[in-house]
Symmetry: C2
Subunit: 513 residues, 2 copies
C-alpha cells in the first residue's frame, strides 16, 4: 500500500467521505488511489476558493469535516481567503495539500513555495509528512484536531513522494479530544451578575445558536431580564417560525454602541469580547460601554449548551414558550425592489428547512429581520469578512443536505470573487436558488468613503462602481450551465423565486436593484 492509499483509507475510517478538490500533478497518486478505493465522494471546484468555501459550507451543515484537495503552495493560497472564513467560523476541515517531493523541494523548481507558512495562520493544526509510513497516523491526528471543539482547520501537507512510496499504513480513528468541562465558578459568577438586576447582555455565538441552547438562553433572559444577542456574523443559526429568536449585534459601530448603551455587564457564551469590524478615527473599537464589565460564561471550546443549561439550573429559570408568530402573509408586495420588499418575499416564500447562505452585504440589511417568522431554516453567514464565501458555502451546504433547498443571497461584487462555484452546482445538480443582488457597485465602500468625509470623484467612483460594463449574471450563469432569469420588480422576483425553489437543480435569479 502506498502513502496515498493509506491516506484515502484512513480518511474513510475516520468518517471523512467527501472531498472538495482541485488536484494537480503532485496529487495524482491520491487521485489514482481514489479510483481504486470506493467510498469517497469527490466534488471538483474550478478554483481553490470554491473548494475551501464549499468544505466550510459542508461541515457547517454535516457537523463533520470534509477533506479538501489542493495543489502546492499556490493552490492553497487561492483557498486561503475562504480558509480564513472557515477558521473564524470554527469549521472542522481537513486540508490535504500536495507538494513538491522531499528531494525536489531544495531545488526550488518554479512551483515551490512556502506551503506550510501560508497554511499555519488559518489552521489549528499543521503538519508536513516526510514518509509514507506516517501518512495514516497524520491523517487520523488531523481529523482529531479538526473535530476538537469548537472545530478547526487542520492542514496536512503531503510531499508527492510520501504518496507514491510504499509502506503506507492505515490508522484507526483517534479518540475525540474531550470537551473542557464548564467552569462552576464561571456559572456562579454569571448567576451573581444576572441576579444583580443590573443591565446585562448575554452574547451568544457558535453552538449557543442551536435550537436547544437558544431555548435555555431564553429561559435565562425571561427569568432575569437580561438581554440576548448573537454575534454579528455566525456560522449557523437555527431560526424561523416556532424557534426562539435573537437579534444580532449590529454591524455598524455607532448603531451597536447606541443599542448597547446602558449595559453594565456582558456575559460571553462562546465568543471573545466583541470589537467593531473596522476602526474609525476617533471612535471606540468596542461596541459596548467603557464601564461595562465583561464575564466569560463559556469559551468557544466548551460545551455551550451545557453551560447555558447549568446557568438555567442555578437561576432556577422556568421553561418558556416560543412566542406565537404573527400570521405571516403569503401575499407578497408589488412594485420596486428594495431590501424590505425582497425580504418580504423571502419571509413569505422561504421553503421549509431551507438553508440560507447570506452574503447579501448592504442590500441585505432587511433580510435577517424580515425572515424571523419564515418557515424554519438555518442561516449561514460570511464569518471572516473575506468576501467570496457565499456561492462556495451554498455549494458545500447543498452537498451535505440532500432534500433541503439552499437559498444563496448574494451581493454581486462578492459573488464575482468565486463565481466558478456555479459550475460545480450545475455539475452536481444541486438544489440551490441563487439570488444575485445586482446593485452594480461596491455599495458598502461608497458608505465607507462617505464615512471618511470624502465626496467620491471620478477616480474613486471608478474603483467602487461595477457598472461600465454591467455584469450580466444570466449569461454568466448560463455560461457555466446554470439556468437563470432576471427580475426588476417584486412580482417578477416572487414568481421566479417560487418557481426556482420547486425545481430540481440550481437556478439563478438576477435582481437588478
Amino acid at each position: 500500500m502506498n502513502g496515498a492509499e493509506s491516506l484515502v483509507k484512513t480518511l474513510l475510517a475516520c468518517g471523512v467521505d467527501t472531498c472538495f478538490a482541485n488536484p494537480g500533478t503532485s496529487e495524482m497518486h491520491f487521485v489514482a488511489a481514489l479510483d481504486r478505493i470506493p467510498g469517497m465522494r469527490c466534488v471538483l471546484g474550478l478554483f481553490e476558493g470554491v473548494v475551501t468555501g464549499a468544505a466550510d459550507g459542508y461541515a457547517r451543515m454535516a457537523g463533520k469535516p470534509a477533506a479538501t484537495l489542493l495543489h502546492c503552495g499556490p493552490g492553497l493560497a487561492n483557498g486561503l481567503a475562504n480558509l480564513h472564513n472557515a477558521y473564524r467560523a470554527n469549521t472542522p476541515m481537513v486540508n490535504i495539500v500536495g507538494d513538491q517531493s522531499t528531494d525536489h523541494r531544495p531545488l526550488d523548481a518554479p512551483l515551490t513555495a512556502d506551503t506550510e507558512g501560508w497554511a499555519r495562520p488559518v489552521s489549528v493544526w499543521t503538519r508536513t509528512v516526510t514518509q509514507a509510513a506516517s501518512v495514516g497516523a497524520a491523517v487520523a491526528a488531523a481529523v482529531q484536531a479538526a473535530r476538537a471543539a469548537p472545530g478547526g482547520v487542520a492542514s496536512l501537507i503531503l510531499p508527492s513522494d510520501v504518496c507514491w512510496n510504499p509502506g503506507g499504513e492505515v490508522a484507526a480513528p483517534l479518540a475525540p479530544i474531550p470537551v473542557p468541562r464548564v467552569s462552576p465558578t464561571a456559572v456562579q459568577q454569571a448567576t451573581r451578575v444576572l441576579r444583580s438586576g443590573e443591565p446585562t447582555l448575554i452574547l451568544l455565538a457558535g453552538s449557543a445558536l442551536g435550537e436547544a441552547a437558544l431555548s435555555h438562553a431564553h429561559r435565562i433572559a425571561a427569568a432575569t431580564g437580561a438581554r440576548l444577542m448573537s454575534t454579528t456574523f455566525n456560522a449557523r443559526v437555527a431560526r424561523g417560525r416556532g424557534r426562539f429568536h435573537v437579534d444580532r449585534l449590529p454591524y455598524v459601530g455607532k448603531v451597536a454602541r447606541d443599542t448597547l448603551a446602558g449595559i453594565r455587564h456582558l456575559v460571553l457564551v462562546g465568543t471573545a469580547a466583541p470589537a467593531t469590524f473596522f476602526a474609525y478615527p476617533g471612535q471606540s473599537s468596542r461596541p459596548y460601554p467603557e464601564d461595562a464589565v465583561v464575564h466569560v460564561l463559556a469559551r468557544p471550546e466548551e460545551d455551550l449548551g451545557e453551560a447555558l443549561a447549568h446557568l438555567c439550573d442555578a437561576l432556577d429559570a422556568p421553561p418558556v414558550q416560543v412566542p406565537a408568530a404573527p400570521a405571516q402573509s403569503q401575499e407578497v408586495g408589488r412594485g420596486a425592489l428594495s431590501s424590505e420588499s425582497v425580504a418580504q418575499v423571502l419571509g413569505a416564500l422561504l421553503p421549509e428547512q431551507a438553508i440560507v447562505v447570506d452574503e447579501a452585504a448592504t442590500f441585505g440589511r432587511a433580510f435577517y429581520p424580515g425572515t424571523r417568522h419564515a418557515a424554519p431554516h438555518d442561516w449561514l453567514n460570511l464569518t471572516g469578512g473575506a468576501i467570496g464565501s457565499g456561492l462556495p458555502l451554498a455549494l458545500g451546504a447543498a452537498v451535505a443536505s440532500p432534500g433541503r433547498r439552499v437559498v444563496a443571497l448574494q451581493a454581486d461584487g462578492s459573488g464575482m470573487y468565486t463565481l466558478q462555484a456555479l459550475w460545480s452546482m450545475a455539475r452536481e445538480r444541486l438544489d440551490v436558488t441563487i439570488v444575485v443582488l445586482a446593485n452594480r457597485k461596491y455599495a458598502v465602500l461608497l458608505h465607507e468613503l462617505a464615512n471618511v468625509g470624502a465626496t467620491p470623484g471620478k477616480t474613486a467612483l471608478d474603483m467602487l462602481d461595477l457598472g461600465n460594463p454591467d455584469l450580466d449574471w444570466v449569461r454568466l450563469a448560463n455560461g457555466m450551465g446554470v439556468e437563470a432569469a432576471r427580475a426588476d420588480d417584486v412580482e417578477g422576483f416572487a414568481d421566479l423565486f417560487a418557481m426556482a425553489n420547486r425545481r430540481s437543480g440550481p437556478f439563478l435569479i438576477e435582481l437588478v436593484v
Copy 2:
C-alpha cells in the same frame, strides 16, 4: 497632509503612476487621496488575483513597477498565486496592503489575519508601517527594492490609522541600488570552458532574452559551437522575424534529458541550475547529465547583457547576422483545429509588435516553435506554475502598451481561475484578442495520471474533466461585456483572429478543440 496623501505623492514622485486595485474599507483614505491628487491611473479588478497578475504583466512590458491596492490579509491572500508568479518572474511591483489600524489589530476583529506572514514568502521586501510620518519613506524604499535588479515584489502593509493620521511626509525617490559588476573571474572561466570545445550549453534567462543580449549570445555560440537555450518559462522574450531565436528547455523531464544528453558544461546566465518542474518516482530531478559541470557566468541580479558582451569580447567573437527567415506563408490551412494548425494561423497572422501571453498549456505545444518566424513580438509566459496568470497578464500588458495588440493564448481550465480579468479589459477598452483553447479537460493532469501508471476511472475523470456541463466561453465573455465568437475549424479561427486583431477593444475567440 495625512499618510494616504504622502503615499500617493511619493508613489508618483518615484515614477509609479499606475495602480491595479481592489480596495476595501481600510483603504478608503487612500482612495480619497487618489481623488484629490491627480496623476495615478487606477484600474479596478474584480478579484485580487486579477490585480496582482495585471501588475505583473504591466511591469514586464513597462519595465517599471505598478502599484497594487489590496484589502487586508485575505485580499492579499487572493492575490498570492499571481504574486508567486511575479516573484518567479523577478517582476518589479509595489503591493500596497491596507490593514487593521494599529490599535484595532489586538482586538482580533473578524478580518484580522497574518498579513505580513502571508506576504513575506513572495516578497523581496516587506514592511508594516506604524506611523503616518514614516509612510513616504517606506514607499520610496519599497520602490527602490522593487526596482533593484533583477526586480521583485515589495509589499508595504499600511494599517488604516497611518493613512488617516496627519503628519505624512512626501519622500524623494531613493537612488537605484547599483547593479553588481560582472565578475571578471566568471567571464574568464566561461571563456575557458567555451574554448575547450567540449559540448556546452549556455542557458539564458531574464534580461538575457532581450534583443541585444540574444545577439551577443548568438555571436558566442557561432564562435564556439556552444548550444543556446532559454529556461522553460520566461517573463518576456523578444522574438519573431529579424530577431535571434533560442529554443526553450523542454518542460518534460525525459525530453529535456534526451535533448541535453552529452552536454559536459552548463553556463548559466541569469538563472539557477535547472530542475524539472515536478519530481517523478525513480527519475532524476535534473534535466542535464549527472557529470555535467555547472558554471555561473552571471547571477540574475547582475547585468546579463554586459556579461554576454564581455564574454563576446574575451572570445573575440565576430558579429553574426540573424538567419534569413523562410518565406512565411500568409495562407492558413484548412480543416480540423490542432495545436499545429492553430500555430500556423498564429505564425501567419500575428500582428506586428504583438504581445503574446501564453497560458495555453498542453494544447499550445506547437505555438512557440510555430511563431518563430512570425512578425516581431514579445512572448510572456506563466513563470511560477500557478495557473490563472494568463488573462491578468494580458490585462496588465495592454494597460502598459497602448498601440500594441495583446494576444492571450489561454487554456480553458487555467482561464477559469481569473476570468474576472475580462471585465477589466472591457471597462478599459483594451486591445486584447483572447483565444480560449477549450479542450474541456485538465489535459495536463490526464497525462500526469498516465505517468503514474493509472488508467483513469470515473472518480479520477470527474476531477480532471471540465465537461458536464461544458463551459460556454462566449456567454461568459458576453456576461462581462466582452464580445466573443466560437470557431471549430481552422478557417473559422483564421477569419475571427484576423477580424479581432483589427478591432478596437477586447474580443474573445473560443476554439473548441
